[in-house]
Structure formats: C-alpha cells, structure tokens
Subunit: 156 residues, 2 copies
DNA sequence: AGAATACCTGAGTTATTTACTTGGTTATTA
DNA sequence: TAATAACCAAGTAAATAACTCAGGTATTCT
C-alpha cells in the first residue's frame, strides 16, 4: 500500500465533497480553500477520480463535482487506488520477482500486510466517516472559516 | 507507518541473521550477498539496530552480528522503528496539527490505520517468520546459491 | 608485529518520487 | 460575450530515499 499525501488529499477532498454535496455540486476551488490543497493539484486528482467513476462533473458556472455513487458505496480503498497506481507495499508490487525472479525472504510478510490494509480500507466508506462526530466538528469549523473569509473580502 | 525499502531491508537482514545465527555470529558481507543488499547500506542499518539493542556485535575476524534477544522477542515493528524515524502515516506525524494547529478532516482515519498496522507488526516476531515453510524454502535456496558461488571462486 | 577481518562512522552523492506550477483549451451559463 | 469552472499535458522544484566513499577502530590469526 502506497500511502502518500496524494492519497490522503484525495480522501480528504472526497470526504469534503460528500459532506458538502447536499447543496448541489461542489466546485474544486471551494474544496481547495477549505482543505488547503492547491487547486491545480486537485484538478489532477479529480481527473483520475472521474475516470474511475467515483465522481461526476458538470462544467460551466454553477458546475462542479458530485459523487458518482452514494457515500456508503465509496470505500477509502477505492479512492486511494484511483489516484495511486498500486496498493501494495512489497518491493516487487506483488509480482513475486523480488529476488532473481522468485520471492524474496520477506515477500509474504509484506504481501499479507498489504492485504490487511487493503481490507481495512475497503471496509470503511465515506458514509462511515461522515457519521463520525469528529468529522462533523471539523467540517463545521472549516465551513465557518471559509464563510468568514469571504465576508472579509466582500466587506473588509 | 513509514514503510520503505529501508525498513524492508532491515527486516529481511534481521530474518537472515535469525536463520543463520545457529552457526554463531553472522558477518554483514554474508547477509549482503544472500539478500542482495549493499554492504555499506547494511552497515548503516545495523548501526541503528545495535543502538536499539536488537543486535550485538563482535569485531575482528570471525566476528559479526548476533541477535540481542531471542527471535521470539524481536517483533517486526521493533525492527522497523529502529531504522525508520516514525511509525505513523498521518501528515502531522501524530501531532494533530495538520490544519492550522488542529486536526485535519481525515486525521483520525490515518491515525486509526497507523495503530492497526503497528499492532499487526508488533504481533509478529522473527520467531514466527522462521517457522513459516515459505521462509525455510527460500532461505535454503539462498544458502545453496551462496555456497555454489563460493565454490566457483575457489575452483572455477 | 603485521596482515587480515569486520565492525563503525559521517559526510557526501545520485536517483527517484512527490508535490506543485504553468499555460493553456473546452464547455456552459448568465 | 464575458465569466466560470472543468479539463489537459508538460514541465519543474523540492524532498527524500537509497546508496557510496573514505576513512577509522577493535580483534584475531599467523
């Protein structure tokens, strides 16, 4: 399992989308502001998420992204594998050719761990995360901050 | 949890050591050959493993390394944390300051996963790995290859 | 004593990957 | 037609990982 900022950003952005989408489609610049992620970087990530069918897009003013499935149907594992190439921690990426075309001494250990992580993340959906109190609290705070910032711009 | 080649090398080398140490202390150049890891890189890693008490060293001819504890006492988690700095996948390294000094929207998710991985690797010891049939098979093959290579050098 | 072995150390270098930017184009709506 | 926002590809900069180099020190064997 390759767990980097890229995957974390993708999950964070998807969760933001899931929380906000009751108000219709959500544009990336809003997500970028709330989650403090570079807009163009988000665009890259959402290109991949779209190709995987996890999100749908509408162009033009008032447009943005919405979930392609219900929050309950979108697992964290699916998001990560949509933006990261592989979901494996073995050196050979699961090909079993880590040492002279056969498995290295610890291949199975990493392979087993990869599966554990994969299963864990498959079992958690965006729907599960939304229900968590801590997520609600943080989302509310981020909302307030964003609205306040916009207020300041309009009437300083 | 930061899982990189460094940690994998360390675990592989430690497992090699655990398998071979019945014959007394094992020198790094042998491990380097069997596991195809650069000798100087191994020296770095074993410097850290020694400071953590996981291995003991004897200098001079016939010297090498031996385990500082029984294989059953050495967990995989201990090896990885001896060579990698942190064992956490959150962006803030567990400091909970990922966004403006508070937790980001997905902090708890990564934090929980980190704990899962940590627990999993704490529960596996070198002793457990040695018992596995696949490990025995691969170790035997690596032994043969090494001995054959030495034969070839002595009598080509 | 001297050569060989093998650990020990730190500073440097190279390669890879990640994160991010730039500079556009296309579709849609008001 | 002007503004908005998705779409896209290529490039770059920073970080980190992996590895090398050039010494050293302790120990043993001859």
């Amino acid at each position: 399992m390759k767990l980097t900022t890229k995957g974390r950003y993708a999950v964070t952005a998807m969760l933001d989308l899931a929380i906000q989408q009751s108000a219709g489609s959500v544009c990336l610049s809003d997500i970028a502001e709330r989650q403090e992620i570079s807009l163009s970087y988000l665009e890259q990530l959402f290109g991949r998420l779209r190709k995987s069918g996890l999100v749908e897009s509408t162009r033009g003013p008032g447009g943005g992204y919405s979930l392609g499935q219900t929050p309950e149907q979108v697992s964290i594992a699916a998001i990560i594998s949509a933006v990261d190439e592989d979901v494996d921690i073995t050196r050979c990426s699961g090909n079993e050719n880590c040492q002279q075309n056969t498995r290295c001494l610890t291949h199975d250990l990493w392979s087993d761990l990869s599966n554990k992580i994969q299963n864990y993340l498959e079992d958690i959906s965006l729907g599960d995360l939304i229900k968590r109190q801590s997520v609600q609290t943080i989302a509310a705070r981020q909302d307030t901050v964003l609205l306040k910032r916009r207020d300041d711009i309009v009437a300083p």
